[in-house]
């Protein structure tokens, strides 16, 4: 069963094509991440799927309801937490949640009760009676997400939920996302951070210039870029230079890069040749105190996918 099925979604603003034909299927109960740089079309896509803007072309259904023809049914099942906190800064955290709860149809008493439940489980009970404008970025974000969960949605859109947050606040948001997924809510989030997509998402779509350029699990994306990367830690600069010149002409190597001081990253055409290279280096008298063979990092995948396409 699918939470989202979209076909050839397109949105243009004047001459600018924000989203240029996106196909998408999101499984119910999964965490799906849109990964891409600024201006890639992530927000536009999410806003179209959340019924906030109309696509120029294409079609989509959420939980089997047509995005455009049955937008009311769609809206009842989803919730959106945008890039900018959509809460009222002049009100307190508690008042914000009560306000939204009442507008969702809760009675005054029930709204109060729901607000305090949420404030408590989001670690905001101490700040409940303070105006939101005194909140830190992480607290705002949590309150904003809490406001989206007053009625537990079947699908939650999170647009860059951790942009601008410190590491502790970020991991708190991650906890929330995971708890939500465990409770059965489907989540579609956008992010610029590979680490975030890697940590949270079951499925990642890399989006660039309004198109999906790659899709799959984090592992699939990494292996799609091929082979493996051999990282060598060398004893000194002389050894590093030596190793570099020795490996320069090797046919089995795709690319050599200097990573950190005294470290070489060697992208291999086939992982098997790693041992061979280490033997070669040893024979040439180059000491390799440390080495590792791994898959390319998501950073490398990301850069490779979003570079000049």
């Amino acid at each position: 069963m699918y939470a989202i099925k979209a076909k050839k979604l397109k949105k243009t603003y004047g001459d600018f094509t924000a989203v240029n034909g996106i196909d998408l299927t999101v499984k119910k109960g999964s965490i799906f991440a849109f990964l891409g740089p600024n201006g890639a079309g992530k927000t536009t896509t999410i806003r179209m799927l959340a019924t906030l803007i109309k696509p120029d072309q294409g079609e989509a259904s959420l939980f089997g309801y047509d995005l455009i023809k049955q937008s009311k049914a769609v809206r009842q099942r989803i919730s959106l937490t945008g890039q900018y906190a959509s809460i009222d800064e002049a009100l307190t955290g508690q008042e914000n949640l009560i306000l939204i709860a009442r507008l969702l149809g809760f009675s005054v008493g029930k709204a109060k009760q729901r607000a305090s439940e949420l404030l408590e489980s989001f670690g905001l009970d101490d700040a409940a009676k303070r105006q939101v404008k005194t909140y830190s970025g992480g607290m705002r974000r949590r309150l904003d997400i809490a406001a989206s969960l007053i009625v537990t949605p079947e699908l939650l859109f999170l647009d860059e939920p951790t942009t601008g947050l410190d590491p502790r606040s970020r991991s708190q948001v991650w906890q929330v996302v995971q708890a939500l997924a465990e409770a059965g809510t489907t989540i579609l989030l956008t992010t610029q951070y590979l680490e975030e997509a890697d940590q949270l998402a079951d499925h990642i779509a890399v989006i660039n210039k309004g198109r999906i350029v790659a899709e799959g699990t984090a592992a699939q994306l990494k292996s799609s870029l091929g082979s493996g990367v051999l990282t060598l830690q060398l004893a000194n600069q002389a050894d590093l230079m030596h190793a570099r010149s020795l490996l320069a002409g090797n046919q089995d190597i795709e690319k050599i890069t200097d990573a950190k001081e005294g470290e070489l990253r060697i992208k291999l055409k086939q992982p098997q040749i790693a041992t061979q290279l280490l033997v070669e280096l040893g024979q040439a008298g180059i000491k390799v105190p440390e080495f590792s063979l791994g898959q390319p990092s998501l950073d490398e995948v990301f850069l490779a996918l979003t570079e000049e396409r």
Binding site: G82, S86, D88, R102, L104
Partner: protein, 274 residues
């Protein structure tokens, strides 16, 4: 201070609650929005100072600056100008309605509202209701103060109260103009500029300060058909006990016309706003 922490177990329990109430009826939504507007006043009581202090300042300036020159004496001019300046200051503060809406849009609060199962106009009506309360305060302060200065309305208490009621009706309709502009303009500054460009001619090119018959013919005609002039004439008539019923009818008519044009326009823009 206790370290704020996310309580994962509790969170899971809260999230598995599948309570989905029926969407609120419009009246409940309107009162909820009014509650929000009242909370904002509670947080920023200086807003009220604004609507109370500014009118007094204007009243004093106009009465004593122009009084002698225009009507021979300040006291006499006060009788003429109070209804005018009351209308002018109160219609000017209606501008803030648009500012508030614009702020909601800029801050993203508006996006949240659009995903809620509410009758959309209720958000506008809820804040208009509280705004009317602000207009009422402004009017009351001003009339009381002018009584101290020597304003003597011939229409009595009934005349003054019905005059204020008439102003509230007109201001309610004028608010829709600001809402429309708020939805059209991107930034608060540009909205402010545009609103000023509307409100100043609207209030000054009226019968609020001077008798239109003293103006050049062209201007006199402009002033005569300005809805603010119509309101000023009716308010002046009510307060001094010599109102023509037709004049009151015209105020209602112009209010209705403004609403017929701008309320649907506002709602249209509200719905299709990206």
């Amino acid at each position: 201070m206790k370290q704020s922490k996310i309580n994962t177990n509790q969170l899971r329990a809260v999230l598995t609650k599948q309570e989905r109430p029926e969407p609120p009826n419009p009246l409940y939504a309107i009162t909820t929005f009014s509650w929000r507007a009242l909370l904002k006043i509670k947080r920023h009581p200086e807003q009220l100072l604004d609507v109370a202090a500014l009118p007094i300042l204007f009243l004093l300036m106009f009465t004593y600056l122009f009084g002698g020159a225009i009507a021979g004496s300040s006291r006499e001019y006060l009788q003429f100008i109070l209804p005018g300046i009351l209308v002018q200051t109160v219609t000017q503060i209606t501008m803030y309605t648009g500012m508030d809406l614009n702020k909601d849009i800029q801050k993203g609060f508006f996006d949240r509202l659009r995903t809620l199962p509410i009758w959309l106009p209720s958000s506008l009506l809820g804040s208009l209701l509280v705004d009317s309360f602000r207009y009422l305060i402004a009017s009351t302060v001003m009339v009381s103060f002018s009584l101290l200065l020597g304003f003597r309305p011939q229409g009595g208490v009934v005349g003054v109260i019905s005059a204020i009621a008439l102003i509230l009706v007109f201001c309610f309709s004028l608010s829709w103009v600001w809402n429309t502009l708020a939805l059209l303009m991107r930034s608060e500054q540009s909205l402010m500029m545009l609103s000023m460009m509307v409100i100043f001619p609207l209030t000054f090119l009226s019968s609020a300060f001077v008798d239109p018959t003293t103006m050049p013919t062209f201007l006199e005609n402009v002033v005569k058909y300005n809805p603010v002039s119509i309101l000023v004439d009716a308010v002046r008539g009510l307060m001094h006990g010599n109102v023509e019923l037709a004049n009151i009818g015209l105020v209602f008519l112009s209010s209705v016309i403004i609403i017929i044009i701008f309320a649907p326009l506002t709602l249209f823009l509200y719905r299709r706003r990206k």
